[in-house]
């Protein structure tokens, strides 16, 4: 190692050390977080709870595997060992009276792909995946486009 090389290495390490020590300071000033401007040691006052869409109209899924949104209020619905109030309308036998969509048949499958007589325990807690849509602004900017738009874009590129 020549003198010049050693000097360069020291310089690089020094710059790295500086970057590591300085970055939290920089981050604190420039990175926007969901916390807003409240100092870390204090609690921000939470925003008001947004009302949920209660239109009873089914929403488009952004991708086929998306758990469908719940298009109605679910305040106080009991889902526990004793009762599942979602299933009082959405179970296989209840839909004739309720005219609600039946729980997907995939929810009857055990993890070994065996169909059970009723909803499997791993799919029992509906709101692990299904949620109502809050009437609120996006917290962060979201540039998501669905597959149809991607395909359209690709075919547009090919045409040119």
């Amino acid at each position: 190692m020549t003198m010049k090389q050693a000097f360069r290495k020291t310089l690089a390490l020094g710059a790295l050390a500086l970057a590591v020590t300085a970055s939290p300071l920089l981050a604190q000033e420039s990175v926007a977080t969901l916390r807003g401007g409240t100092p870390l040691a204090e609690n921000a006052s939470p925003p008001p709870i947004a009302p949920v869409k209660n239109t009873d109209l089914r929403q488009v899924r952004n991708y086929p595997e998306q758990p469908p949104l719940i298009p109605h209020k679910i305040d106080g619905y009991q889902i526990d060992r004793n009762a599942n109030q979602c299933l009082t309308c959405h179970s296989r036998t209840a839909v004739e009276i309720s005219q609600a969509p039946m729980v997907s048949i995939t929810h009857f499958m055990s993890r070994d792909n065996q169909f059970l007589a009723s909803v499997t325990p791993r799919r029992y807690f509906c709101n692990q995946c299904h949620v109502p849509q809050g009437q609120t602004r996006d917290l962060v900017e979201n540039g998501f486009v669905d597959i149809d738009q991607v395909l359209e874009y690709v075919s547009g590129q090919e045409d040119n």
Partner: protein, 198 residues
């Protein structure tokens, strides 16, 4: 026995010797007010939320469960207390219910549900008692406040208005058939044979 009855009847039939007619009628009138007023006051005292929640069985179980529901806290601040749903408002029915409640006094004295475990064990039976009572009286206590005539279904969500048109207005079902578990937690519906609702 027969002699005793005859003697009593003799006393009642004979005119009063020491008291004037005025004193007797006024005394009777005043005592009537005192007794009737006292009875009604006592009845009303037992018909308050404070009375119901003075026992830990109600305060720690069902009352706690009521608190997060719409019948306890809501946007307009109107609220239902225990007797609004569990005791008929009409006098005759109220007295009938109060007489049935003597069994609940028995349960209190002998501690039928004096622990959380015992309460959970009895939850299904207790719920079924109330469900069958409300089914039998066409959800009378619900209808003390909620009337089908005043229900503006255009102000309801699509789902709610359709259900009310199909089942409530036709008289096919009564409130409690669909609205179980709105004020307290549901018992094990599998045991109740109600797993699939309605």
């Amino acid at each position: 026995m027969f002699g005793f009855l005859r003697r009593t009847w003799g006393v009642i039939k004979r005119p009063s010797v020491h008291y004037s007619l005025g004193a007797l009628t006024m005394g009777g009138f005043i005592m009537g007010i005192v007794f009737w007023g006292g009875f009604n006051t006592a009845l009303e005292v037992t018909n308050t939320e404070a009375f119901c929640t003075s026992c830990h069985e109600m305060r720690d179980n069902v009352f706690e469960e009521l608190k997060p529901t719409i019948h306890y806290s809501n946007r307009s601040g109107v609220r239902a207390t225990c007797p609004d749903c569990h005791v008929p408002h009409d006098w005759t029915n109220k007295i009938a219910r109060k007489m049935q409640a003597s069994k609940e006094v028995w349960g209190k004295i002998f501690g039928t549900i004096n622990t959380r475990e015992k309460f959970l064990e009895h939850r299904l039976t207790l719920a079924q008692n109330e469900w069958s009572r409300l089914e039998a009286n066409d959800s009378l206590e619900c209808r003390n406040c909620h009337s089908a005539e005043s229900m503006d279904i255009t102000r309801q969500s699509k789902r709610a208005s359709e259900a009310h048109e199909r089942f409530l207005f036709t008289g096919e079902k009564t409130c409690i058939n669909c609205h179980k578990g709105i004020a307290h937690e549901l018992p094990d519906l599998g045991q109740a044979g109600l797993l699939n609702g309605h």
